[in-house]
Each structure stands twice: as C-alpha cells, then as structure tokens.
C-alpha cells in the first residue's frame, strides 16, 4: 500500500470481520527516538493459539470464517522495510492487538496518508461500532472517539453524510495542529 492509513483501514477491517464492537487506533510519533508506532486494538473473537504464529504468512488462507488475509503480511513487509517490525497479540474470546513499529525518518517509510478518509469510512460505514483514534506527536495529542460523538449527535446516526465530512475535516485539522506525519530529518534536505 502506498499509505499507512490504507494499511490501518485494512487491519481495522479484520477487526470488524472478527465481530469487534470496539476498535482503538493509536499512533505515536517519537521524534527524538526516530520512532513511529501504530496500534490497532479490538475486542473481536481473537485468533486461535495454533493459528497465531502463522497469521503473518501470506499463504495462510482466509477462505473459512477466519478473516486472516494478506493485510498483515503486507504491513509486516512495510514495517520491516524501514527497520521496524510487526507484532500480533491475541486472546480467543477477548480480542486482538496489532502493533507496527517503523523508523520515522526512513526513506522507505510510507507516508501516513489520509487518516481522515480512513476513519471517516470506518465510522460512517459501521455506525454501531465504537471507534477511538488517538494520535500523539512528542506529547501533543489529537483524539476522536465515537462514544463522545454519539452523546453530542443525539438522534443523528454516525452514518449521516455530514458526520463523514466532519470526521475527515476534524482529523485533517487536528493532525496539522500537532504537526503529525512529517519526516523531520528528511525534510531538512528540502529547506
């Protein structure tokens, strides 16, 4: 995938297919440590113990009720391409947590891309599910949470088109405010 936000959309689809009612997406950028961490945590049915070690194998099929696909192996490759790694933790009946680490300032680190579009599609396409999106850049945080949104929206469903537009806009503005998703050292070349 050309953007990390596409990978995140893909992994979140796995969470939804596993029957999750809550999906938490967190991104941390640590500039001094040159580290970018993405975490997708869900409360779905989890991955059975015997399958867990093979879950990042691109040849493990998803043609049963198990929604394990290419998404994880593509993300693993994307992380390892920039000296990072992918971990999958899971407990049957409780949920799954996918953690991808990347070197922030690596030339092959895919740009974050449009998180507004990803969260917009997730939230408006699955209005009964709870989503949390939290993005931290060296201590500055942006956050969005559907529980809070529902309280404010009252009778208006999260699948209303104006909600989609709000999510896209709010995330775009919010991330810009905290200086998210830059390549600080690489950008020095272009000064």
């Amino acid at each position: 995938m050309l953007e990390l936000s596409m990978h995140i959309l893909d992994i979140a689809q796995n969470s939804l297919a596993a029957g999750s009612t809550r999906v938490e997406i967190r991104i941390w950028e640590n500039l001094p440590e040159d580290l970018l961490v993405i975490e997708v945590k869900d409360n779905g049915r989890g991955i059975p113990g015997e399958m867990l070690p093979r879950v990042m194998d691109p040849f493990v099929t998803s043609r049963t009720t198990r929604p394990v696909g290419l998404g994880l192996s593509l993300l693993k490759e994307a992380a390892e391409r920039c000296e990072g790694c992918l971990e999958v933790h899971s407990e049957e009946g409780r949920g799954t947590k996918v953690v991808a680490r990347f070197r922030l300032d690596h030339f092959d680190r895919a740009p974050l891309g449009d998180m507004g579009a990803t969260m917009g599609i997730l939230i408006s396409g699955n209005p009964e599910v709870d989503f949390l999106y939290e993005h931290q850049v060296d201590g500055q945080t942006y956050g969005l949470e559907t529980g809070e949104m529902r309280k404010i929206l009252g009778p208006i469903g999260l699948d209303d088109p104006s909600v989609l537009r709000f999510v896209q806009q709010d995330i775009q503005t919010g991330l810009k405010k905290i200086g998210a998703a830059t390549f600080p050292k690489i950008m020095e070349v272009l000064r």
Partner: protein
C-alpha cells in the same frame, strides 16, 4: 535527447510550472523504493516511479536527477509539486505502466547503464 523532447515524443503531461526542461537525458532508473534510488541512481537519471509524496523531491535533489516521471497515471501530491517547482525538479506524468514507458524510453536511447 532533451527532457522536453522526450516528453513531447512520448506524450507526457508536464506537472511542474516554470521549471527548465533542457537537460540532456541519457540514462534512467526505475524503482518505487526510495532507499534503492538513493543507493543506485546516478546524476542525470530520469527517475520513473509511482511514488507521489514529497520525499521523491528530496531524493531527486540529493541525487541530482534530471527529472521524475510518474507512471500509471499517478498524480503528485500538491506539496510535492510546490517543492519541485522551488527546487527546479521537473515532474511529468504518463498513464502508461512503468514497464511500457521504460521500454519506449529505451527505444529512444535512454538506457539503464551505470
């Protein structure tokens, strides 16, 4: 051949404004892995890629490339075009897939020789 003549012959869309296209292009490099281009491109290479984000301009500047050709109809990000204009890096766009456009470039004498 000069960049501008290649662009005309092969029907590329010019994406940057007010950037000189007089460079003589004799070699090219094709890769979507920026670290690969950083390591293996040479000065004057025309770079064929599908990557569209700002970092491609950084690479072009660092390696003194003659220009960037975006294949498969890839559209450059707005900030990519802005920086490219500032740093005088020509960016073109073609709807042809990489393999096809590289083949046509080869026929016009632009090789991958290092």
């Amino acid at each position: 051949m000069k960049l501008k003549d290649l662009a005309e012959r092969l029907g590329w869309e010019l994406k940057t404004r007010n950037v000189p296209l007089e460079a003589e292009v004799q070699t090219g490099y094709s890769s979507d892995l920026l670290s690969d281009v950083l390591a293996n491109s040479i000065e004057g290479d025309l770079w064929v890629t599908r990557q569209t984000h700002l970092n491609i301009v950084a690479i072009a500047v660092m390696r003194d490339l003659s220009g960037i050709l975006l294949a498969n109809g890839a559209e450059p990000d707005p900030d990519t075009l802005e920086k490219a204009a500032e740093k005088m890096v020509p960016i073109f766009r073609t709807t042809l897939p990489t393999f096809e456009v590289v083949g046509r470039l080869y026929q016009l004498g632009v090789t991958g020789a290092r």
